[in-house]
């Protein structure tokens, strides 16, 4: 069975591979795909789920092709088999132009296909929930965008709602069916705002406004975790947020605005970036006479350089 019969091996391999690949892809698409994280709470979350599933549907046949071939070869051409022919060397075994060109062409086509798909899926949904820096070039089509500022600090996220008097809260509430622009910034080291079920992730850098868009769908709960190592309590830097119906959101926002009014006036005026003093309380890292130095460590301290 080892002499000649190249087409015989190819045919068997092809059949095993095709059956496996199609069967698994079908099972995956219908049974597993809809449950793949991060779910469907927002447009970007379902986008991420869709992209992951498509990649998996492409990836599995590729992996199966390699594995099926390996398993086949390891069994059929195992050296302990008594009737195995001696392998043939020579130029034929050193390379085969058709196979090599075919391999390169196939992988190139797959890779370029994946790239085009990924680029479309990145640009069309306005950055797909990732941090787009201070001046996003891919923005949502919706004209009603709710801005929410996310402030990372060691070790808690706080949230400011500029459209509600700029109040700041340690709770993240988001209205359903709304396009949201998260403006992510930090008051000290790098954090990463990862609203898992919302399909949003954007690094929080000091004095940088990193914008990420998403559009919420139905109400639900979500988790926010810090996604970039930020020191001692990085692992404890999480909180739970909610997507609530619009009306409920307005009630919450207005009551919180009212309740925290006493402290809101102590906060610095809302801005997309703040310039925290690099020194801590009572002086510190840089000598006092080095600009920019301010006796006021509050995050809104204006820089003498400006």
């Amino acid at each position: 069975m080892n002499g000649g019969g190249e087409t015989h091996h190819f045919r068997r391999l092809g059949v095993i591979w095709a059956v496996l690949a199609v069967a698994f892809d079908l099972v995956y698409y219908f049974a597993i795909g809809p449950h793949v994280p991060p779910g469907t709470l927002t447009s970007t979350a379902s986008g991420a789920q869709f992209d992951f599933n498509i990649l998996f549907l492409v990836a599995f046949p590729v992996m199966a092709a390699v594995w099926v071939y390996w398993a086949y070869a390891l069994i059929v051409w195992r050296g302990s088999k008594s009737d195995l022919a001696e392998p043939e060397g020579g130029p034929k075994s050193r390379g085969h132009l058709g196979i090599q060109v075919g391999w390169i062409a196939t992988t190139t086509v797959i890779v370029l296909g994946v790239f085009v798909f990924g680029t479309v899926e990145l640009i069309v949904p306005a950055g797909a929930g990732g941090g787009e820096g201070p001046s996003p070039i891919w923005t949502p089509t919706s004209h009603e965008v709710l801005p929410i500022q996310v402030i990372g600090q060691q070790w808690q996220f706080t949230y400011r709602y500029p459209t509600f008097g700029g109040f700041e809260s340690r709770q993240l509430m988001v209205p359903a069916g709304t396009t949201i622009a998260f403006h992510v910034t930090s008051l000290d080291v790098i954090h990463s705002f990862w609203a898992y079920q919302l399909g949003v992730k954007a690094d929080a850098n000091p004095s940088v406004d990193n914008v990420a868009y998403t559009t919420t769908k139905q109400p639900g709960a979500f988790t926010v975790r810090c996604g970039e190592l930020c020191g001692l309590w990085h692992g404890a830097m999480y909180n739970f947020g909610k997507v609530v119906p619009k009306a409920q959101f307005f009630v919450w926002a207005q009551s919180t605005e009212h309740r925290s009014a006493a402290n809101t006036k102590n906060l610095p005026p809302f801005a997309y970036t703040y310039v925290p003093d690099a020194n801590g309380a009572n002086g510190g890292y840089y000598p006092d006479n080095v600009d920019p130095y301010s006796k006021v460590e509050t995050y809104g301290a204006t820089s003498p350089g400006k």
Partner: protein, 224 residues
């Protein structure tokens, strides 16, 4: 030298090397401040008194210039630790003797009192809910348990006063007494920390004591 001898020398050197590495690693892994037990002899339903003090510099140990919290054991001893065993679902009455000077908060959001029973705290006998850290003496530290939503700013002493520079501080040093209460949740380990950038000499004031258990960070180890 025979082969046996050589093997013995190699083996011994190897054992010493491995021993040193393991010793270094384990000595580091196991280092931790002590835990103060508030559950021993605790009767269900009775509140627990937790007395703390904050000092401007601990004065001793490997980091003598760092700010720190100290804990008073039920026996009245001051211990340099921030780890407590506390009973679950119990009212904890916290008293903080605040001996440190102050500054503005990095984020004035933490000037509010949140999560305590009654959503307020008592400063030298007077109830308060917000401190504007940009006025007056400013805030020295905060006591915050982020996962429980608890945060209490600790009003500072006048920095021009003769502040205490040893630990534990003598009670005749200028200090503020802040009292508040909260309920412990179910069993678990809950991190608590300070949100004021008080790590003197560190970038953003958040290094050193701000990132070391036993100084400005600790655990509530709530046990059933």
């Amino acid at each position: 030298m025979g082969r046996g001898g050589r093997l013995a020398i190699i083996g011994a050197l190897f054992a010493v090397a491995v021993g040193l590495v393991v010793f270094t690693v384990m000595a580091f892994l196991r280092s931790s401040p002590p835990t103060v037990d508030f559950t021993a002899g605790h009767q269900a339903g009775a509140p627990v008194d937790l007395t703390l003090q904050t000092v401007g510099s601990i004065g001793t140990g490997i980091h003598p210039s760092w700010v720190s919290y100290l804990t008073q054991t039920p026996g009245g001893q001051w211990v340099h630790t921030t780890l407590w065993d506390l009973p679950a679902h119990t009212r904890i009455n916290v008293t903080v003797h605040q001996y440190d000077g102050g500054s503005p908060l990095r984020n004035q959001q933490y000037g509010q009192v949140t999560g305590t029973i009654g959503d307020d705290a008592i400063l030298n006998g007077k109830s308060f809910t917000v401190i504007n850290a940009n006025n007056g003496n400013g805030v020295a530290h905060t006591f915050a348990i982020p996962t429980l939503g608890i945060s209490v700013p600790l009003y500072a002493n006048n920095g021009n006063g003769n502040l205490c520079a040893v630990a534990p501080c003598p009670t005749n040093s200028p200090h503020n007494i802040v009292r508040f209460s909260f309920m412990t949740p179910g069993p678990g380990q809950y991190p608590w920390q300070c949100f004021l950038p008080c790590g003197l000499g560190y970038l953003y004031g958040n290094g050193g004591p701000m990132q070391t258990i036993g100084y400005m960070d600790g655990f509530l180890k709530v046990v059933a």
